[in-house]
């Protein structure tokens, strides 16, 4: 039996499950208010689709299986790619889609969970600063809905780093190394790394500046402008500036930091990228960005932007912050009956259920002790029928009378 016990701590308790569900409901409602419609993808996806798309989940991180015809399938390691493919292949699809799906990744070690829930949106066909900013605003809106008081959205740009390393004579291994150094803001080791490359001084200066292009957007944009090396980088900064202006109109600039050293491990991003942190939680709770070139890989050019909330992390962060709502675990009515009352009690229970009350029934003669609390109790016992509520006893004769009494009592509650 021992083996069944390992991993049991991953299972949510019923209360936690309710809480996670209500969190998902909150997010979905917010998605809808921005015009998104729900879609879904299949859990089993073709391995070839993921393997052929450049810059996606690493093949080691996918959980693979084989279908009866011998094709390799993977358990959905990402939702954006199948949704993008569907958009690219089918004509006339609604272009604002949201989803809540489980994602599967091969865990690095046995202590990690290979399955997590992601709730996200994808918006196709628009490619403006307004659209970028609206995405960020939606992310902020969700964190507000979830009652987080302190949070930050870090915004970077996938293009900035790529355009900069175009100026450097790097092998793939070296550019991976440089990416690592920038991601860890490791200025100590960037310097000797660049010295070995014999590049011009102003390029060295620009690369060294990137990790610290972080913080207040105004400051970051001004500093970034001073190290621009080519026209593309200038355009990138211009577009970030524009996005920031729209964010100011949304009045959410206080929740924003710019980080031009931000690099997402998903290589398909082409424009702004962002991730959200909430105070007191050590991992990002949402991430996303613009990926204008992904649909092209499925044969159709179509700009797109999206982000995903990592529901499990949001849930743990809410728990850590003590922001979880109370879950009502009681029912409205418990009906107690004995052998003389059974023929009245069970039909009465069903009538109340049809009116929307939450009803439990209990045979007083069997000793079963269900412990679900209820607001009031109804009794069909010793040939009598009555409601008991707050030390009061109210008798009734018919099912209609019971319903009227209940309505009164519930209103007073």
């Amino acid at each position: 039996m021992q083996s069944y016990l390992s991993g049991i701590e991953d299972n949510l308790s019923p209360t936690d499950y309710q809480l996670k569900n209500s969190l998902i409901t909150t997010i979905k409602k917010r998605f809808h208010t921005y015009g998104y419609q729900k879609t879904s993808t299949r859990a089993f996806q073709g391995y070839d689709m993921y393997a052929s798309v450049i810059g996606t989940v690493h093949k080691h991180n996918m959980i693979k299986t084989i279908d009866p015809s011998g094709d390799v399938m993977v358990l959905r390691p990402d939702v954006t790619i199948p949704i993008t493919r569907k958009m690219a292949v089918k004509e006339g699809m609604y272009h604002r889609l949201c989803y809540v799906e489980d994602i599967f990744r091969q865990p690095n070690d046995s202590s990690q969970n290979g399955e997590f829930t992601q709730a996200g949106v994808e918006c196709f066909g628009e490619n403006t600063a307004e659209n970028d900013a609206e995405m960020v605003a939606l992310a902020v809106h969700i964190l507000q809905d979830l009652k987080f008081e302190q949070f930050k959205i870090e915004i970077g740009h996938a293009g900035f780093f790529k355009e900069l390393i175009d100026e450097l004579p790097l092998s793939p291994q070296e550019s991976e190394k440089l990416q690592e150094l920038i991601q860890s803001k490791n200025l100590t080791d960037i310097e000797p790394f660049l010295e070995d490359l014999y590049v011009e001084d102003h390029v060295v200066k620009a690369v060294k500046a990137i990790p610290m292009l972080y913080g207040n957007p105004q400051y970051v944009i001004e500093t970034a402008e001073s190290i621009i090396l080519n026209e593309k980088m200038r355009e990138t900064i211009e577009s970030l500036k524009h996005v920031y202006d729209v964010l100011k109109a949304y009045e959410i600039e206080n929740a924003i930091v710019l980080d031009l050293g931000l690099i997402n491990h998903m290589d398909y991003y082409s424009g702004i990228i962002f991730q959200g942190y909430v105070s007191g939680y050590s991992k990002p709770v949402l991430m996303g960005g613009r990926y204008n070139n992904l649909a092209e890989q499925f044969g159709r050019s179509m700009p797109a932007i999206g982000f995903g909330c990592i529901v499990d992390d949001l849930f743990h962060a809410q728990k850590a912050a003590g922001k979880l709502p109370e879950i009502d675990q009681s029912v409205d009515v418990t009906i107690h009956y004995d052998r003389t009352g059974i023929n009245d009690a069970l039909p009465a229970a069903n009538r109340l259920r049809e009116s929307g009350y939450r009803v439990m029934t209990q045979d007083t003669e069997t000793n079963s002790k269900t412990c679900i609390p209820s607001l009031l109790t109804v009794h069909f016992e010793n040939e009598q029928s009555f409601i008991r509520h707050r030390q009061k006893q109210l008798n009734f004769q018919s099912a209609d009378e019971l319903k009227t009494l209940l309505q009164q009592e519930m209103r007073d509650n």
């Binding site: 291994q173 860890s184 490791n186 100590t188 080791d189 909430v278 105070s279 991992k283 990002p284």
Partner: protein, 206 residues
């Protein structure tokens, strides 16, 4: 309040001295003490002492906002953190060491003993030399002597221990020194106090 994880051992005393220099004072702080948690007199920093290799783990998971730890342990843990400052303490070097003249032969897979198996694997992988790693927790120099491994990968300060055991450095690898690391979320959500702390240490270094 910022939680700072400090590596026990080799560099603990020097790190404490550096914090004092930067104006962060702790009462009754002593690395020999068995107490593991200390608060600074200004009430800004909570200092926790943890095993060196655990410092990056504490910081990556947000159990500490910042950490002071050797580059050797950062490399071994492969933690996803910011590595902000070189505190220039405890400088040494990673090296491959063994008996003079040991070469990875073409026929046999090289056996490498190390306290840093991830570092060793990465190094030889880059050189396309297949190896078997044996993880040891101390007295690594012993491994080649008694035939447990062909070579070792370890940090070398003076080289005395190697020499006394008849081993030599076969290849020098990355340099190591003590670093200030920061949790990525704390860097963003506690940015004011974190940046102040970075700045304080930076001035302490100068």
């Amino acid at each position: 309040m910022i939680t700072l994880a400090l590596a026990k051992g080799r560099t603990a005393d020097d790190s404490i001295k550096l914090l004092e220099q930067a104006g962060i004072h702790f009462d009754h702080l002593n690395s020999k003490s068995r107490k593991l948690v200390f608060y600074d007199t200004a009430g800004m920093v909570k200092l926790i002492f943890v095993k060196a290799l655990d410092v990056p783990t504490y910081v990556e998971n947000g159990a500490a906002d910042m950490g002071i730890v050797g580059k050797d342990n950062i490399m071994e843990s492969q933690a996803d953190i910011y590595e902000i400052l070189d505190l220039k303490l405890g400088r040494c070097k990673f090296a491959v060491a063994g008996f003079n003249g040991t070469h990875p032969s073409n026929n046999n897979v090289l056996t490498v003993a190390s306290k840093y198996p991830a570092v060793a694997e990465k190094h030889f992988h880059k050189k396309k030399i297949p190896i078997n790693t044996i993880k040891l927790n101390g007295s690594v120099e012993l491994a080649p002597l008694i035939g447990l491994a062909d070579v070792i990968v370890d940090i070398v300060e003076t080289g005395n221990t190697l020499r006394e055991n008849g081993l030599t450095i076969l290849e020098e690898m990355d340099s190591v020194s003590t670093r200030l690391i920061v949790n990525k979320a704390s860097f963003t959500t506690k940015s004011e106090s974190v940046h102040k702390m970075i700045h304080t240490l930076q001035t302490g270094l100068e």
